[in-house]
Every structure is written in C-alpha cells, then in structure tokens.
Amino acid sequence: MKNEWPLWEVFIRGQHGMSHRHVGSLHAPDAETAVKNARDVYTRRNEGVSIWVVEAKHISATAPGDKGPLFEPSESKVYRHPTFFKIPGEVGHM
C-alpha cells in the first residue's frame, strides 16, 4: 500500500468569529489538493468560511489511559469558578 495517498485531518471555521473545528479526514497527495478536496467534501452546504488541513501523522494526542491523571485534578478545584465566591447582595453586580 505504499502508493496510498496520505491522510489529512480537516478543520473548518463555520462562521466568522468562531474557531476552526475538526470535521473529518480525507486522502490527498499534497496540502493543496487536500484543501480542494476538503472544500468539495466538507463544505457543500455552506458549512464553512475557512479550511485548515494538516497531515494526520503530525498530530500528537493524549492517550485515552491518561484521562484520569490529566483531567481529574481540575474536578476538585471548584474555587476556579466564579460561582464559588458568594458576594453580598449590597455589593451589586460583579
């Protein structure tokens, strides 16, 4: 399978002011064709105003098994949210 086109991940900005979001992937020989194909495959119904593509092999990711150590510590830090602090009513809006 060495002549298979590489895999690209596609990110689309849905509307102005929003960030790009992962929508799927596709195969293409190079970045330029990947953008063209992404336009045909993922924006046939006004889904976007801008496209990013990145070759899948360049993406690094967290491992599913690390979910606990990485993300659980923030669950116990309720003081990071503004609602943790009760502000007396007479202070007004803060």
């Binding site: 399978m1 086109w5 990711a61």
Partner: protein, 330 residues
C-alpha cells in the same frame, strides 16, 4: 440495509461472567451510552465486525452512484440534472466519511477497495437492480434513500464515535435525497396517464427490493445478538422494515398510486401495517451475485479504479518531487 447480513465476528453473545475486567469495563461504557473512540481499548471482534459493517456501508454509497449516474445525462430538465448531480456527489462524500470512519479502526481505504473489487466484501443488494427509466430515479431517491434513512437515523446512536458522527452528517444530507426523489415521482404521478403508469411501474418493481434492504427476518438473522449488545446495530431488521412500511404506505396513497402489495393493510390492533414478505430466495440469490446487475456494477467499479490509477500515481509522484525540491532548497 446499506449493510446487510453482516456476520458478527464472534460465536454468540458473550456473557458477563465470561468477560475479562477489560471487556466488562468496555461493555459498561456501551451500556452507559458512552461512545467508544478510535484509541480506546476494544475487543478485537468488535473492531472486526465494525470494519465489515462500515466497509460494506461505504461500498454501498459508492456503488449506489452507478445506477443514478446512468441518468445524469438523460435527466428531463436542467434543474433535475443539477439536483441529480448534487445527489450523486453527496453519495461519493458519504462513502468517503464512512471509509474514514473505517480507517480509524486500522483498515486502510485501499485495502477495503481491494476487498470490494475482489468480490470479498459486499454492498447493498438494492444496487444490483437496474434503473430502467426516469421514474426509477425518483423511486430510488424516495424509496431506497428513504429506507436508508430509517436505518441510518437509528445508527446515529451506534456506540462507535466516528461511525455515529458520520451517520449524523449523512442523515442531514440524505433527507434531501429522499425529498427530491419523492418530488420527482410526484410530478409523474400527477402528470399524464403515461407518466403515472411509469411511476406505478417503478414503485411496483422497486418495492420488494427496497424492503429487502433491511436484511432477512429477525428469526433468520442469527448473528445480530452480539452486535445489538455492542450497539453496533441498534434496531432489528424487522423493526426497521416495519417502520419503513408504516411511513411509506401513506405516501404511496397520497400519490394516488396503487399499493405494490395486495396484502398491505392497516392493522389497528398492532398499530402497524400488515405486508407481505419479499421473496427471500431472490434476496439470497442477489447477495450471492446473481442479481440483474451484479457483474456490471463490479466491472464498472474495477474499471473506474484501474482507469484512475495513473492519476493517483502521477499526483503522488508530483507531490513527492515537490517535497524533495523543497528539502533540497532548505
């Protein structure tokens, strides 16, 4: 449906007591409706069954372009031609979303293509029937895509994340397919006597192949228990078929066409329509490769793949040359 007769890669359903800790944790996630994502641990049989099902589903989308592509140049108006082009283009896109989902399980798209072209993977039996006239194109959109939607709406809740997301996207687009088909057939059903006759003929011919799309009766479908437990399959063949019949019969009546099966009758007690079983021997025969168009469809696919080889190779060689030049310049 678009995936029929998928043999689950396991021997019967695994009981909780026989599961390893890892398998039990996996089943708990599924029971809690937590999606399985590509890099999560999964039983090998779950992976293998999904590859078969998603792969066959993808092949159906791509082969499904052939009976319709046949009519693009012969559409009755420019508007209908543009609509049909858009639909056929969507089918290519749907195939691509699904191949991408299969790829997250470690099976390459080229490998799936090879299995299809060698006749070792199937696509839906429905695409082995011919589209003889323009009414058939309307009926295919309305009935075949209509049946596909019933199946795919259920599959939006499937346990594998990438498959579920592909289904959500596909369902949005598929609804255009069914409506444009109904609209085309409505035009004929309400048209001249000859147009109405053609509409009736298309419905008569495509009715049984459409209800066959859901696969054999549940009593014959021996492999689905484990797939249901894994939520790879969400509803049974008969449940989906009944749902399709219930939603389609009033539409046929609205068009003023005769019902294609004399046994279709409202059953107030069940709250569903009664209907006849299709001829299952025909279904198994088509699956085996003896349908009216099996040979043509596969030959067309193989030809498209082989004729495109030099384009794929050329573009890749060009991309590699550009890369090498860039490296040399740095």
């Amino acid at each position: 449906m678009y995936a029929q007769m998928i043999k689950t890669a396991s021997t019967g359903i695994k009981l909780r007591a026989d599961m390893s800790d890892q398998e039990r944790a996996f089943q708990d996630k599924i029971d809690d409706n937590i999606k399985i994502e590509p890099r999560d641990w999964m039983p090998e049989d779950y992976r293998a069954t999904l590859i078969r099902q998603i792969g066959q589903h993808a092949h159906s989308e791509v082969v499904g372009q052939l009976p319709e592509g046949n009519w693009i140049t012969r559409a009755p108006t420019l508007e209908r031609k543009m609509i049909l082009l858009a639909k056929v283009q969507d089918e290519a896109g749907h195939g691509l979303y699904l191949y991408s989902a299969a790829e997250t399980l470690g099976e390459s798209r080229d490998e799936l293509m090879r299995l299809l072209h060698e006749g070792r993977m199937k696509y839906s039996s429905i695409f082995n029937y011919p589209t003889l006239n323009w009414a058939d194109i309307g009926a295919v959109g309305w009935l075949v895509d209509g049946a596909a939607i019933v199946n795919q709406v259920a599959l939006q809740r499937t346990s594998y994340g990438p498959y579920s997301r592909a289904m959500i996207r596909i369902c949005k687009e598929e609804s255009f397919h069914a409506r444009q088909g109904f609209h085309a057939i409505m035009k004929m059903a309400f048209g001249t006597r000859e147009q109405k006759r053609q509409a009736q003929d298309a419905v008569n011919r495509l009715w049984y192949p459409s209800i066959m799309m859901f696969g054999p009766n549940d009593s014959e479908s021996t492999h689905s228990e484990q797939s249901m437990a894994w939520k790879i399959k969400v509803k049974s063949n008969d449940e989906l078929r009944q749902q399709f019949v219930d939603q389609t019969v009033p539409q046929i009546e609205y068009l003023g066409l005769e019902l294609p099966d004399p046994n279709i009758q409202w059953n107030a007690e069940k709250g569903h329509y009664n209907f006849s079983d299709p001829d299952w021997s025909e279904f198994f025969d088509v699956i085996k490769g003896n349908g009216p168009c099996n040979t043509d469809r596969l030959n067309d696919r193989v030809k498209a793949w082989e004729d495109g080889q030099w384009v794929r190779d050329g573009l890749l060689a060009h991309a590699r040359k550009k890369d090498a030049r860039k490296v040399a310049a740095e």
